[in-house]
Symmetry: C2
Subunit: 246 residues, 2 copies
């Protein structure tokens, strides 16, 4: 079983900026150029698979985990997010010491645009600047049922610490606090279950509204394909640098 602490360290390197071509040594390759250079090194089966995946991708739902202690929970939410086709993923650390877990993301982090934030206000400011509404799943008297919130507009869906929930700073930034159905004696779900229900609900609303989850423009599809080729091909950066002669 993979060590999730290592996995988290790897995630820290992948960055969360949307790919807009390859830059090195003052030179630039467009996404289309990256595709034409790397495509011979991507098997046809893989090319088709990448095409299927990006056709169902969206940036409109941005899952956010805040202050999680258990790396296994982070990995579980990543796996759900990637599986459903949500491309961005935000991790707010808030100086939490991670507790290792044997659960892994099953490689999901490799295919997500993961952003790591040191604290909450930086993240929420970033999300708001990008036009996302912020929806926090939270058990609170003012919370409204998740099913009553419009998840077909750009929405950041926030899941808080295993024990303490989301921070005051996150609650202050939230547009909505949402509650999941829980009419039983058990009045809370664990993070991976709450995230599964919430993200499934968002996917479901989107499919019912638009007929599908994927909503990338032609230009975005090209950029994401180029990005995925870079993630697929071994030493892709070296290959592109050689091509640029830098």
């Amino acid at each position: 079983m993979e060590n999730s602490r290592l996995e988290m360290n790897r995630i820290l390197h992948s960055g969360g900026v949307r790919f807009d071509g390859y830059h090195a040594g003052g030179c630039h390759l467009s996404a289309a150029e990256v595709i034409s250079i790397l495509e011979p090194m991507v098997s046809e089966v893989r090319q088709v698979r990448i095409g299927q995946v990006i056709s169902e991708r969206t940036y409109s739902i941005a899952p956010v985990v805040e202050g999680l202690v258990n790396t296994g929970n982070v990995s579980a939410v990543m796996r759900t997010s990637e599986g459903l086709g949500f491309q961005p993923f935000h991790v707010i650390r808030n100086e939490v010491k991670f507790k290792k877990s044997v659960r892994t993301s099953q490689g999901a982090h490799k295919w997500l645009d993961v952003s790591i934030w040191e604290n909450t206000p930086a993240c929420t400011a970033g999300l708001k600047a990008q036009g996302y509404q912020i929806v926090v799943t939270y058990l609170d008297d003012g919370a409204i049922p998740l099913s009553e919130i419009d998840l077909t507009i750009p929405t950041a869906m926030v899941f808080g610490n295993e024990k303490f929930g989301v921070s005051e700073a996150m609650l202050a930034a939230a547009d909505f606090t949402a509650i999941l159905p829980s009419p039983g004696f058990v009045q809370s779900y664990n993070i991976s279950v709450a995230a599964a229900m919430s993200l499934f609900a968002a996917h479901d609303q989107r499919v019912k509204q638009f007929g599908r989850n994927g909503d990338l423009s032609e230009a975005e599809l090209i950029r994401l394909r180029a990005d995925f080729y870079m993630r697929s091909v071994n030493h892709s950066e070296d290959i592109l640098k050689r091509h640029l002669g830098v």
Copy 2:
């Protein structure tokens, strides 16, 4: 943290038969009589809480776990089921050796009608005799999207072994094999996530169709309240036996 192996042993004693009054020594107390005897020993807060819970209960969705190895996964699915208000719960053992887990059901099993089956055909025959359609979540070419299956009729929702999925016997008995949305590179979800999505979908369909999840008749509400009083009051059987003079 509680030992889940012990927890499973306890579950084996709770049975899965729907309560229809208390029987002992050839005598019988109706559900209404059980309520009137035990109610003085149930706090008012608890009485109200039980009333809220049973008003949102249904027998129409019957979660089934088949051949799970990890007791933590069984507990996680129980917790989700209880939280959403589904009263029956079926565990098919199929001679599996349980692997202990630190995760617990958070007491959810106490409030479910848990049936333990030694093998699959006995369980599926029992479910069919009770009028349930059998829906298996399964990644297979013939599978149809879960959202296209009517979950507003009595439905057993089956989740299979962590590694091998459901058995051949279960597939043979299934009315539908259902697929969850998974357009990403990650092509499967773990059991607790798949169950969370599937059971949430069932709850959602029921609320959209009927306005609520709960659907018990007055008689069923009385029987379930009596059953929950018995589960709430310490030594409730001794108290009822004393009352009967047996």
